[in-house]
Symmetry: C2
Subunit: 592 residues, 2 copies
C-alpha cells in the first residue's frame, strides 16, 4: 500500500548547491558533475522504488525462517539481491583494486538512503557486507584483501559483525568467546554471539563473519579482545568456497521489526578463523566498521522518516475529513482533505523539515569523511568523529519520532498493519538500539568525544557556526528567520558545554546525567546550521533567477519552519542539563 519516490532533486540540491561538491577540492569530487550524479541517483531511485520497495511489506509479513540450519529470506529477496549486485550498486564506493567503482562516500550515502528508505531489512544484507569490507580493507593483510574483498564488493559473499554475547552488549570486556592459536596462523574460535544481523542467509555463496574473541593469556577485559575472520565456508586456494566451517545458526529472533533481515544466534564451535589486524587490538579494527555503521544507522533513522513522511503526505491529500476553519477548500467534495488542517500541517512540516535537514547533515558528514580519507585531513576526521554519535543518536531518535508522527496522520488506519505505516515505526525502532544504544552514543559524545584532542573539535564546530553567522550577517533574507535562532541555539550548546566543563570535574555525573539532552541539543544546532546553509544556497539560486523558483522558495519556507518550531527545543535541553546530577541521582538504586 505504501509507495516510495527517491528525492533525487533534493539530493542534487545538496550536492551541487549546498555542498558544491565538484569545486570543493576533495580528491575525486571532480567526477561528481551534476549530470553524472543525476544519472546515478535516478537509476538508484528506480531500483529503490521498483525493485526493493515492493518487497518491503511482504518481507515484513513473511519474515525469515530457519529450517535445518538454513535461513530462508522472504520471497523475492534473492532475485532482487542479484539484480542489485549485478547492477554494481554494492560496489559503488569500493576500492577499484578489488572491483569497486571508487566513487566518493557522499554519493554512496545518497544511494544508501534510497535503499534504506525503500527496504531497510533488505538493504542491511549489503550494508553489513560493506562494513565488513571496510574493516578488512583497513586492517587486512594483502593476502586477506585479495582473498575476500572482490567477492564482498560484488556481494557474491556477504559479511557480518559479531560483537554481542548473551551477557554483554555495550560492555564487550566481559566477552567469553575464545580463539585458540593453532600454530599455523589460524585460530579455533568457540563461543556464542547474538543479535547477528544477516548472520545467515540464502542470498550469497559464502558469509565472511568478523568475530571478536579473546586469545587465552591476553590482557583482561576490553584490552584482550581480538578480531577474526571466520568464513562460513573456508576459502580454497583457488578462491572458491570449500569446507564448511564450525559456525552455525542456533536460532533466529522474533523481533518488533526488520523481519526481512535474519537476526541470528551464531554458535562458533572450534571454527577456523584468522586474525584481522593485530592481536588484542580487535576493538580498534572493529571501530572502523562501527563508525561507518553508526553513520549508516543514523541514515536509516531519517530514511525511515522520509518514506513515512511521503506516505503521510499522500494520505493527507487523499483523506477527506472535516473542513478548513478558514474557508472550505474542496466545495465539491463531502469534506476537505486532511492537509488543510493546521495540526496536520504542523506534523507534516515537522517530518519534512527533519528529513530534509537530516539528509543534508548526513551528506555533509559523508563529505567530511571523504575529505578526511581522501585528503588525510585530520581536522575533518576529528570533526566527523565528534559528530558521529550525534548523527547516530539524534537522527534515529528523531527519525523514530517522525515515523510515529507519520503513522499518526493515518489515524486508526495507521495502526493496521495492512497500511504499512506501522512497519516504518517498528523498523525504525531498531535504529535507536543497535550499533550502540543511543544512551551509549550520548555517553561517547559527552564522556569521550567532547574532550578529544583537548576539545579542539568541538571548538572547531563552534567556529564553524560563528563564522557562518558572521559571514552572512549582512544577508537580509538569511536574517529573516535563520541567523538569530541559530545564534541562540548555538549559545545554548556552548552554555551546556561550559556547564559540563565547570561541573563535570567535580563530579562526572553532572555531565553524564545531561548526556542525552546534550546529544539532542547538539543535533538541533547541527540541523540549524545545515538549514541555514541550505537557506543561503536556495536564496542564492533565487537571486540568480534559477528555474523552478518554487523548489527554492519551499526550501526556504521549510528551513524557516525548522528554525522557528524545532530550535526552541535547545532551551529545554539546556535547562535540563543545568539542573545537574542531583535530581537524577538523588533516589538511591534501592529505592527503585
Amino acid at each position: 500500500m505504501t509507495t516510495y519516490t527517491a528525492p533525487v532533486k533534493d539530493m542534487q540540491f545538496i550536492l551541487h548547491e549546498m555542498l558544491d561538491v565538484s569545486t570543493s577540492g576533495i580528491p575525486g569530487y571532480d567526477e561528481l558533475e551534476a549530470d553524472f550524479t543525476s544519472a546515478v541517483l535516478e537509476e538508484a531511485g528506480k531500483i529503490a522504488s521498483e525493485v526493493m520497495h515492493p518487497l518491503n511489506a511482504t518481507g515484513d509479513q513473511e519474515g525469515c525462517t530457519l529450517e535445518n540450519g538454513v535461513v530462508r529470506t522472504p520471497t523475492g529477496f534473492k532475485a532482487a539481491f542479484d539484480q542489485v549486485r549485478e547492477g554494481g550498486w554494492t560496489a559503488l564506493d569500493c576500492d577499484p583494486e578489488y572491483g569497486g567503482q571508487g566513487m566518493p562516500y557522499v554519493l554512496n550515502t545518497a544511494v544508501n538512503e534510497m535503499f534504506s528508505s525503500s527496504n531497510m531489512a533488505f538493504n542491511m544484507y549489503a550494508g553489513l557486507t560493506h562494513g565488513a569490507y571496510s574493516a578488512i580493507h583497513a586492517h587486512g593483510s594483502d593476502e586477506q584483501k585479495a582473498k575476500y574483498l572482490p567477492k564482498m564488493v560484488s556481494c557474491e559473499w556477504t559479511g557480518t559483525m559479531n560483537l554481542t554475547e548473551p551477557h554483554c552488549g555495550t560492555d564487550l570486556g566481559l566477552m567469553r568467546t575464545k580463539a585458540e592459536p593453532q600454530g599455523d596462523g589460524s585460530y579455533k574460535v568457540s563461543g556464542q554471539k547474538i543479535f547477528i544481523s544477516a548472520g545467515e542467509n540464502d542470498l550469497s555463496d559464502n558469509i565472511i563473519h568478523l568475530v571478536l574473541a579473546k586469545i587465552p593469556g591476553g590482557p583482561d577485559g576490553i584490552k584482550g579482545v581480538s578480531l577474526f575472520i571466520v568464513p562460513k565456508f573456508i576459502v580454497n586456494e583457488n578462491g572458491t568456497p570449500g569446507e564448511r566451517n564450525g559456525v552455525s545458526v542456533g536460532n533466529i529472533e522474533k523481533k518488533m521489526g526488520i523481519h526481512g533481515n535474519a537476526t541470528c544466534v551464531m554458535n562458533y564451535d572450534e571454527a577456523t578463523g584468522w586474525l584481522l589486524g593485530e592481536e588484542h587490538k580487535g576493538m580498534r579494527a572493529m571501530f572502523t566498521m562501527m563508525n561507518e555503521a553508526r553513520m549508516g544507522v543514523g541514515l536509516q533513522g531519517y530514511a525511515q522518516a522520509e518514506i513515512a513522511y511521503q506516505n503521510a503526505v499522500s494520505y493527507a491529500h487523499d483523506r477527506l475529513q472535516g473542513r478548513d476553519v478558514t474557508g472550505v477548500k474542496n466545495p465539491d467534495g463531502p469534506a476537505d482533505p486532511l492537509i488543510v488542517h493546521p495540526d496536520i500541517r504542523r506534523t507534516l512540516m515537522d517530518q519534512r523539515s527533519f528529513a530534509e535537514g537530516a539528509r543534508a547533515f548526513t551528506m555533509w558528514g559523508a563529505s567530511m569523511i571523504d575529505r578526511a580519507h581522501r585528503s588525510e585531513d585530520k581536522d575533518a576526521d576529528g570533526l566527523i568523529s565528534l559528530l558521529t554519535p550525534v548523527v547516530k543518536g539524534f537522527l534515529t531518535d528523531q527519525g523514530f519520532n517522525m515515523c510515529v508522527a507519520a503513522q499518526q496522520v493515518y489515524g486508526g488506519h495507521g495502526y493496521i498493519e495492512e497500511h504499512g505505516m506501522s512497519q516504518f515505526t517498528r523498523d525504525a525502532r531498531i535504529t535507536q538500539i543497535y550499533e550502540g544504544a543511543n544512551g551509549v552514543q550520548a555517553l561517547d559524545l559527552v564522556g569521550r568525544k567532547l574532550a578529544q584532542d583537548g576539545g579542539k573539535h568541538v571548538m572547531a564546530f563552534f567556529d564553524l557556526v560563528k563564522s557562518f553567522i558572521k559571514e552572512n550577517s549582512d544577508n537580509e533574507a538569511l536574517n529573516d528567520g535563520f541567523l538569530e535562532p541559530l545564534k541562540a541555539a548555538s549559545k545554548d550548546l556552548q552554555a551546556a558545554a561550559m556547564y559540563f566543563m565547570q561541573n563535570g570535574m567535580k563530579n562526572p555525573n553532572h555531565a553524564l546525567a545531561g548526556s542525552t539532552d546534550f546529544m539532542h541539543l547538539f543535533g538541533h544546532v547541527c540541523l540549524g546550521l545545515i538549514w541555514s546553509q541550505m537557506g543561503k544556497a536556495a536564496m542564492g539560486a533565487l537571486e540568480k533567477g534559477a528555474a523552478d523558483a518554487d523548489f527554492y522558495t519551499n526550501k526556504i519556507k521549510t528551513g524557516r519552519y525548522y528554525m522557528a518550531r524545532q530550535l526552541p527545543a535547545t532551551k529545554m535541553h539546556l535547562a535540563r542539563i543545568e539542573s545537574g546530577a542531583d535530581p537524577v541521582m538523588d533516589l538511591a538504586p534501592g529505592a527503585f
Copy 2:
C-alpha cells in the same frame, strides 16, 4: 518474562494523603476508609498480577482468530474473564439498582489502572462494556435499562461502541449507516462499521452494540446522527438472548498491538435496533461514552508506562554492564548493574515521575468526576471537561514515549518480542490514536474547551494553581524545587492562552497551529501542580513523623525530578506556539 506489581501503596497515598478522600465531602466518599480501599486494591492487585498478566504475552502472540463468523479470543481469556466478573470487578462503580456496587469512580479508576497495566487487550472487553453501560444508564428508558444493564454490569453480556466507517473517523457527519424506522419503535440498521474493539468475542452470551446511524430524512451531517442499541441476539421477553440479529463480523484487523482484543469490521444488514436517547441527538449520547472512554484511554497510556517502567527497573538492577564512573559498586561481580549509570537513572526517573504524576492526576480527575456527578457540581464538571483532552492526549503521548524509553533500557533485548517490552510499546501506541486521535484532542481543547462558558473553566484552573502557590508560599520545603517551577510553567501556559486570544480572533490558525503544543504545555502544568500537591502531602507526613519515612522522602525526590527535568518543556512549547501559524501554513498544500 515480564511481571507486574500493583502500586497499592502509591494509590493509598493519593487517596488518603493527597486527595484525603474520606473527608472531601463528596457523597459516598465516606465509605472510602483507608482499610477498606487497601483491601479492595490488594485484592484487585492480585487479580491483575496473577490472573490477567500471565495472559498478556500469550494473548499478544496468539491473537484473536475469526472462523466462520466466530471470534476466538486467546487461550485462557474466557476463564479469566469469568473469574473477573464473578469476583464482581466489572460492577464496582455501577448503579446498585442494576447489580452494581455503587463505589465511587475514583476507586474504579485505581482498579482499572491495575487491570490496564497487567493486560490492556484483555481489560478492554470489560472497559467497552462499561462505556456502553454508562451510555444506556444516562440516556436509556427505564425499560431499556432494566433489560440490558444488569447483564452488562455482570459482563455476562459485553458492549461495544460503533462510530467509525471506512471513509470517516473523526468527521462522523459523513456517516452512511442508515436506520429505517419500522413503525413499531424499532429500526432496521444497515451499514458497515470498522475498528470496533471487542466487536465480537467468545467471552459473553450476548453483545450489546451501540451504533451511530442516520434516520433518513433527518438533518444533514453530524446533526442527523442518532444512537441505537443493536444487540447481537435480540433479547426475549424473559430477558434471555433470543433470535440472532442481522449483525456479523466481516473481518478482524491485523494490528500493531492489542492483539488479544478483536478489532472488528461489523456489517449491519437490516439489523433490528432501538433508539437510545433522542432522534438526531446521537452524538450527545455518544459523548457520555466518549468522555469516559477518553479518561480511560489516558489511563491506559500511563498504565502501560507503569508496567514498562517496573520491568525496566528490574532489568536495570539485574543486568551487569560497565562500571560506575564515580566508583565501582559491585566489586565482586564482573560489572556494575545498569542502574548505576546516570543516563539509565535519568530515563528511569523520567518514567517514574511521569507514571506517578499521571496516576495522581488521573485519580484527581476521577474525584472531580465523582464530585460533578454525585454533588451535581457544575464547576467540577466544567473543569474536568476542560481537562479530559489533556488527560487523553498528554498522558498517552507521554505514556507511549515512556514505554519506548523503558524498552530502550533493555538494549537489543528490548527489540526481541520474547522479552515483552516491545508489546508495551506496541500496545500503548493505540492509545494515541483511538477515541479521537491526539491531534483531535488538541483541537477539542483549543477550539472548544478553552472558550467554553466564557473561558470560566480555564480561569478556574489558573486560580487553582495560583491559590496553591499563594497558600503555600511560606512552606520552605515546598519552596525548595516545587513552587518556582510551577509558577514559571503556569505563566507559560497563561502566555500561550493569551497568545491564542489575541491572535486566534484574527486568524484561528494561529491557535490551531499551536494546539498540540498547548495540550502538552497544559499537561506539564497539570503534572507540576499535582506533583506539588503530592510533595506537600509527603512533607506533611514526614513532619507528623509518619512511619516509612523513605516512601515520603522518595516521593519528594521524584517530584523534584519532575519539576527540574520535565517542566522546562513548557518554554519550548510556548516558543513554538508564539511562532504562530505562518511557519506552519506557509507551504501551500500543493508543495507537499
